[in-house]
């Protein structure tokens, strides 16, 4: 298990970033993909927006973007039957058991 997975297991959604290059390193990695220096880890803002979405049965799934950089796919926990592009969402739950799981609201 890497750092990202350890934290995800605890319900923390974190990213690597490089202070030297002043950039988010995503997907998470131990080294900066620009300078190969060591990364720092920090929590990602839980406020994101919907880039695209669709539905499987009654489940709305979508690509959400955080901090204008980090994109993940997750399930939208909503009473509505649809969603909107650019809609503001929050990461409400994340986990790592068999696989990764992200839930937005």
């Amino acid at each position: 298990m890497n750092k990202f997975e350890e934290e995800l297991k605890k319900g923390n959604f974190i990213t690597s970033e490089c202070h030297k290059c002043d950039k988010i390193v995503w997907p998470p990695s131990e080294y900066c993909d620009n300078c190969f220096g060591n990364v720092n880890w920090r929590k990602i803002s839980e406020n994101g927006e919907i880039i695209e979405w669709s539905k499987k049965g009654s489940d709305v799934f979508c690509i959400a973007e955080f901090e204008k950089t980090i994109r993940i796919m997750g399930k939208l926990n909503t009473k509505n039957t649809d969603a909107k592009i650019g809609q503001h969402i929050q990461l409400s739950e994340c986990s790592f058991n068999q696989g990764y799981r992200f839930i937005f609201m």
Partner: protein
Amino acid sequence: MKKVAVVGYGNTKFSTDDIPIESLLLESTKEVFNTTNNLSQDLIDGVIVSTNDNSKYLGAILSELSGIKPKISHTVEHLCSSGTAATVSAFSYIASGLADIILVAGADKSDNPGQVLDWDRSRGEFTRPIYWASMFTKAHKRKFNTTEEELAVVSAKNHKQALDNPHAYSHKAYTIPEIMNSKNITDDLRMLDCSYSCSGSSSILLASEDIAKKFTDSPVWISGIGQKTSSASFTKNDLTNLDTTKSAADIAYNMAKATANEIDVAEIHDAFSICELMAVEDLGLAKKTTGAEFVRNLFNTENRQINPRGGLIGAGHPLGATGISQIVEITQQLQNKAEKRQVSNANKGLVHNMSAAATSSTVLILES
């Protein structure tokens, strides 16, 4: 750099049968030997296997089963475009003079592990290809007003064309309403808009210009190669453009000193209906925003220019074999040996093969 030609080929039937990977590879290799003039084991300098199967050392295993003792032998894995990636490796060995004759054998089983990329964390629990395909389709509908019916035309055309491909998984034609009414996988994807993961194998024999004519009177030359990889994570992609396909096509056309309007016949990577609509535009075969109209016109006029063997949707998709099967089809077309599938006056052909939601693409130009 030496010129390199396709001088022989073999296919198995694509199916959902559970067949050992070694048997699949041997089956299409046997076809190459059965159908290629003057070929003997001692002439082969290299055996390259393309697969997503977890078995090890398949280059050596296939060589032993075929009685070949090659100088070069190894496996190439690059998900759905493993086949063209292996072909580019073989091309390079021959062009550089390291080898003269190479067998490239691709195969996968229908339950192969190449369908899900575990590493791509960004997909969350939505790991299967149907989810990126739904995102592509939804985004395309939104941006270009693409309709369900326009998507169904792709599937109707490719299923119909597969009827004349004896190796295809599907031998059933579907009407546009049947496709539109097929089971909803998601709100944006119908069952019949998806390609099926199959068991199957395809092999080709590549040879240098010095010896190509020993095996065939009509070698088919690989005149252009373009490849591009942008990432492994799907979510970084632009959802309405196949950027890596565009880059790979530019490189390939440039190398072949050819333009898109010279392409007489093309095998393109229709993993899902939406992919064909995007690819015909990004390969320059149709103008931007006219992909759906272009494909509909082909369907209405029974023009087999795009995916004459039925594409992935009609022929099935044994991942490691797909790129090689596409090359076999274009070779047959340029040799005027494609029988009922034959496109008239085919002199220049194109192969488009991609991986993991177009994070990586290969484009090849072939000439008679």
